[in-house]
Amino acid sequence: MLRSRLLDLRARAAATPNAGHRLARMAASAIEVRHLDVIRGGRRVLEDLSLEVDGGSVTGLLGPSGCGKTTLMRAIVGVQARVTGEVGVLGLPAGEPGLRRRIGYVTQAPSVYADLSVAENLQYFARILDVGADRIAEVLDTVGLAGSERRVVGTMSGGERARVSLATAMLGRPELLILDEPTVGLDPVLREELWRTFHGLAREGATLLVSSHVMDEAASCDALLLMREGAVLAQTTPEGLRAQTGEQDLGRAFLAIIKTGRPAP
């Protein structure tokens, strides 16, 4: 398993220039944030935030709504204005044009054309990324929408639209997937399936940063970033969080961390 993963990583890296260098960095950390500050509407939404996300892992970004999860993700994708500090993504500064092909970003609200069919949406984004029809069929299969190609997105349920948006982000086989609350409004079976998909992608070498405000999803992650009020409280793992707090339930463990009131060093 490990061997095939390494081979896959190498194949990916070989396809891009500057391969060895990038492979080394990616294996170490896919995202490196140092002293990040973001101001939105005159308010400091993120303050002196630093973190690292390992390559080839599924990292959960958890915290109450309004704590800055979306802003942090936008800063990593490079679409957030008024950012100070360092944000390194796949070895490049966030927002570099060279990253546009390598990052998939799914916003909280599905950003696809509601007046087009599923196939028409994916065909457009596939042309932009220069991938073929076989890849469209693959991603639709992955999100469980095979057979829905002709349906108009505007007539679909919220969960289905979210999956069209997710399929779109996966089209270009991005090395880094940033998913903002991808499982909101999905039934438990589908949630389970998507989490399995996320781990499948990570096994193939992709890095996933998945936000959620539901603590029971934390158990599905390789690593956890716990946020509160614009700061990272803890950078840990599900086991680490349990051990640190002595709580088996991750929701209660998070509450325990909050009570100590001290951001991670």
């Binding site: 490079g78 679409v79 957030q80 927002g95 044009p97 546009r100 092909r101 916003t107 950003s111 042309r127």
Partner: protein, 245 residues
């Protein structure tokens, strides 16, 4: 800039229009119906109908494409698809050129229909050929599209975007010379009219529909319209931000 992405964007916009056949039908039918209306409003003054109606055939596409383009781009902003596009390997020019091709095609159909109704059915006369009016109409439609794309950046809702039509289009219609010759206006308005692109669009249409022989002035008018379109597109490109607050 990539031809593949430009054409894909044009195809996507056309597919959106096709998915909304009512809008597509209205786009073609409304100017034709208005022209018929105008014909019977000026039932006892056919010379006035000729004077206003002939150039108006080339101005309708300007007005409608302004509206359609500003609302389409506003939707692109409010539904998050613009933000997604800005995170993808797509040049801003690819998107704008895609819009240009799609709306240019729509404008061609629209202008063809209006000119057919005006010059074939209603007896309007274009001294230098209805085809010239049709060509100018497409150029004017692209000008309208470019202005619409630009001003859509200043609207947060579709309700606001619609208000830009009376704000941006109506004053240009009033000052371009269609209803009253520009020399008869207050001197200040006459001076202002020189700065408005629709003045040149109308001037070109007037030259195409009146018997006076064509001169280089027509070319100058067209060049001003094309330059104004390019300028509005450049300003529009500036409003497509890769990063937002």
């Amino acid at each position: 800039m990539s031809i593949r992405v430009t054409l894909a964007s044009a195809l996507r916009v056309l597919r959106q229009v096709r998915r909304d056949p009512r809008t597509a039908t209205l786009l073609v039918a409304i100017p034709c119906v208005l022209l018929v209306l105008l014909r019977y409003v000026f039932d006892s003054a056919p010379a006035t109908f000729q004077h206003i109606g002939a150039p108006l055939c080339g101005l309708f596409p300007f007005i409608l494409m302004f509206l359609v383009a500003s609302i389409t781009m506003l939707r692109e902003r409010t539904t998050g698809t613009l933000e997604r596009l800005m995170t993808l390997p797509l040049a801003k020019l690819d998107l704008l050129a895609g819009y240009g091709i799609a709306f240019g095609l729509l404008a061609t159909i629209q202008a063809g229909a209006v000119c057919a109704v005006g010059f074939l059915a209603l007896g309007l006369h274009a001294s230098h050929g209805a085809w010239l009016v049709g060509l100018l109409a497409v150029a004017n439609a692209l000008l309208g599209m470019a202005l619409g794309l630009f001003v859509s950046a200043f609207a947060r809702t579709e309700f606001q975007a619609v208000q830009f039509m009376p704000a941006v289009v109506f004053p240009q219609m009033l000052l371009c010379g269609l209803f009253v010759a520009r020399r008869e206006m207050a001197p200040l308005l006459y001076d202002i009219s020189w700065a408005l692109p629709l003045t040149y669009a109308y001037d070109a249409l007037q030259r195409a529909t009146r018997p006076a022989p064509l001169s280089a002035a027509l070319l100058v008018d067209v060049l001003v319209v094309v330059a104004a379109t390019a300028g509005a597109l450049a300003l529009g490109a500036l409003t497509l931000r890769r990063t937002t607050a």
